[in-house]
């Protein structure tokens, strides 16, 4: 046996760190930064435009829309002369889209290239927001049922708590850096859930296996800790390879996919951490609690 770390022994410290991370990032994200919602969820118009002109700035573009379209935000992305123009939908969304593209074309003519137009009506935005939230909840329930069926309910409880932990922490960090929620972000969160449960299951599998042979000879705490240690190298290696590819996606994947990759990046780190420090630790505490009750 190689060196052993006492992960379970440090579990209260881990709980504290997690709680601090989640509460801290949510408070900071919600109250200081304010959560940002993309047009997927609020409805609105997004126009990505590339302008081939010297010294073009966000300020100049903003000036352009003054008095023409209300509530426009302009953001510089990727290269120097590429911009995201966003406008809320007031009245007919198609007119807002038309107004924005019209204004750009009028000012720059053929020097401007409209690269992407997205318009989402306000009712659709609301629907997507609800659907996205429901998807997260359904995924959690589905996984809960599967784990409860394949393992024991106490494992399912730990797994779900770890997943909720990962989701909350990832969302918190995402908000804190001021990024914007969109459908791909929800998709990334679901992937993180899938990934993190994958990590957790491997540890649980080993705990279950060890329980069959060792439960009588060892205290449960120690057994779980051994299981985590036995699977530790696998957890770290897989996290590492996945982290590599997501990092490549984040660095080279381009602007459209950047938020998506960011969520995965954070989610993998948080998911790996939770499957080592949280998921099994909760099972230990739950197990102890149940025993005491008996």
């Amino acid at each position: 046996m190689k060196r052993k770390f006492n992960f379970i022994g440090k579990r209260y410290l881990a709980y504290a760190i997690s709680l601090l991370l989640i509460v801290g990032s949510w408070v900071y994200g919600v109250f200081v930064k304010g959560p940002q919602f993309g047009i997927d969820f609020t409805g609105g118009v997004l126009v990505q435009v590339k302008v081939e002109e010297e010294g073009i700035t966000t300020g100049r573009l903003r000036e352009l829309f003054k008095g023409k379209v209300d509530g426009v935000t302009v953001q510089n992305i990727e290269s120097e002369n590429e911009f995201l123009i966003k406008a809320p939908v007031i009245g007919d969304p198609n007119k807002v889209t038309e107004k924005v593209t019209h204004t750009v074309k009028e000012a720059f003519g053929s020097k401007a290239e409209i690269r992407r137009v997205e318009m989402i009506g306000p009712t659709v935005g609301k629907e997507l927001r609800e659907k996205g939230t429901m998807a997260l909840i359904y995924a959690l329930i589905g996984i809960l049922l599967y784990v409860a069926w394949r393992f024991e309910p106490i494992f399912a409880f730990g797994a779900i708590l770890a997943l909720v932990h990962d989701t909350l922490a990832t969302i918190g960090i995402f908000m804190s850096v001021g990024r914007e929620f969109s459908l791909p972000v929800i998709a990334a969160l679901l992937t993180v859930i899938g990934y993190s449960i994958n990590d957790t299951i491997v540890v649980y599998d080993r705990i279950r296996e060890n329980m069959k042979v060792l439960l009588r000879s060892k205290p449960f705490e120690e057994l779980v800790n051994d299981s985590i240690n036995q699977t530790l190298s696998r957890t770290l290696i897989t996290s590492l390879t996945t982290f590599f590819v997501v990092l490549c996606l984040y660095l080279f994947g381009g602007g459209v996919i950047n938020d998506f990759a960011f969520v995965l990046l954070v989610g993998i780190i948080v998911g790996t951490y939770s499957s080592i420090f949280i998921a099994s630790a909760i099972v230990v505490d739950w197990y102890k609690y149940v025993k005491k009750m008996k």
Binding site: E118, I120, Y138, T191, E209, S233, T241, V246
Partner: protein
Amino acid sequence: MKSLKLRIAVVLIALISSIYVVLTKPVTLGLDLQGGTHLVLQVDIEKALQDEVSAALAEIKNKLEEENIPLLSAKRDGKNIELLLLDSENVPQAVEMIKDDYGEMFEISTSENRILLKIKPSYVTKEVDRLAEQALETIRNRVDELGVAEPVIVRNGKDRIIVELPGIKDPERAKKVIGKVAKLEFKEVVDVARTPDELITKLKGTIPSMATVAVKPSPFGPKFFLIKGDKEEKIEVKNLEELVRKFGGEVPEDQQLLIQEIKNKEGKVVGYTFFIVKKEPILTGAYLKDAYPSTDEYGMPAVSFELNSEGARIFKAYTSKHVGTRLAIVLDGKVQSAPTIRSAIGARGQITGQFSYQEARDLSIVLRAGALPAPVKIIEETTVGPSLGKESIEKGVKAGIAGLILVMLFMIVYYKLSGVIADLALLMNVCILWASLALLGATLTLPGIAGFILTIGMAVDANVIIFERIREELRKGRNLFSAVEAGFSRAWGTIIDANVTTLIAAAVLFQFGTGPIKGFAVTLSLGILSSMFTAVFVTKVLLDVIVKYKRNIFSI
């Protein structure tokens, strides 16, 4: 599958056939990668139903007149109709008559000389379906006429239609052609006004003294200003009726106000003419047989149309009685032209307006394809330019290759020869995944590429689980052969459990996701399945070969 030779054969067949598919069958690219427009349209059923009730009301009024049943008043209130007859004795006869034509549509109730028509819920349900189907058909015809290659036009839910136009050059034009209701109406002109002031006075409104109402054109409709000396105040109104009412004017119940745009040579709106017209149309586009672009007497672009026989009959009857009056040709609520009737007109007519050739062509397309049964609203749009799509692919491929190389290097460094085997399995996985995307006809989207790349990172997971297990068993002092066997058999359950949970997440994604997200879920699921094959089965075969023939080079 005990025999190693047989298993080697399976691996080779899988490899060769997937390479064959990759080389021969292209994967369909999503709109976000090849460029194009994705639209979600909502059919305004409520409006269509109200229009239907309006049409029914007009028809019922006509019939009652024909039967000499005097009518005190007839009103539409949303989707209900209230008729007041002069004589309550006529009620049974009228009810009988209405029942014959509209028994399916309305619930009829009476009290004294009042007849109430309430639309039936069963009729509404049936109508919603019919309207959506018809709108779908109309839009399909229009897109066909636009000549877009491989468009996707499908119904989505009760009243939504998804339109996908790959590789389209002029999305603005396509949107106009698809979204245009193309509701053509011919209406009797009551009066014409050149300025808002004139319109307001004609409808008995008064403008404050020393002031005038000015109109400024914009591409999005007229804007009105009250001008007093050199003070200018914007008047916020939704429509002309509201403007008139603001100044105390009144529009008679059976009339409505419409504008005609006056355009300059560049097609820019420079002013408006205001029309007071009768609300009920004389004729609608439903009686149209054909429409085609043509030129008017001055050689300007116009649209010629031909009416069907019934339309021609109604048109002839009307025009012969109304020589010398003006007739407004109204398209989607805007007056296109308002010619004076010089003599009775039959089946043929012409719409002149100030069209460009392109507009005349597009207008004949939409008229020919038929009017939409109800207005459609574009409630969602995504248009991606071709250059952005290409850039996305390039970036995705770059990220994928970089990730692949990193993972492969890592596996070799960490697991040595076994790492090489895992890498071979990984490459085969990439190949199989790509081939299955092509075979299933799945569409590759940008998130799909991300899913693909993510799979690369996660695919080696099964190998890692197995290899770690083999190492453990070797440390326990087992011999190589039994360590490999134990590693695989013990790891199998774990791999299944771990992957099924990821599949659950992917299934949820697929269920709720739209377009690109669905693509992501598909690639992710396929990736998991194919990686289970390559990382477990293929790796096992390769390891067995080494264990059997070249034991001395084994390393993990």
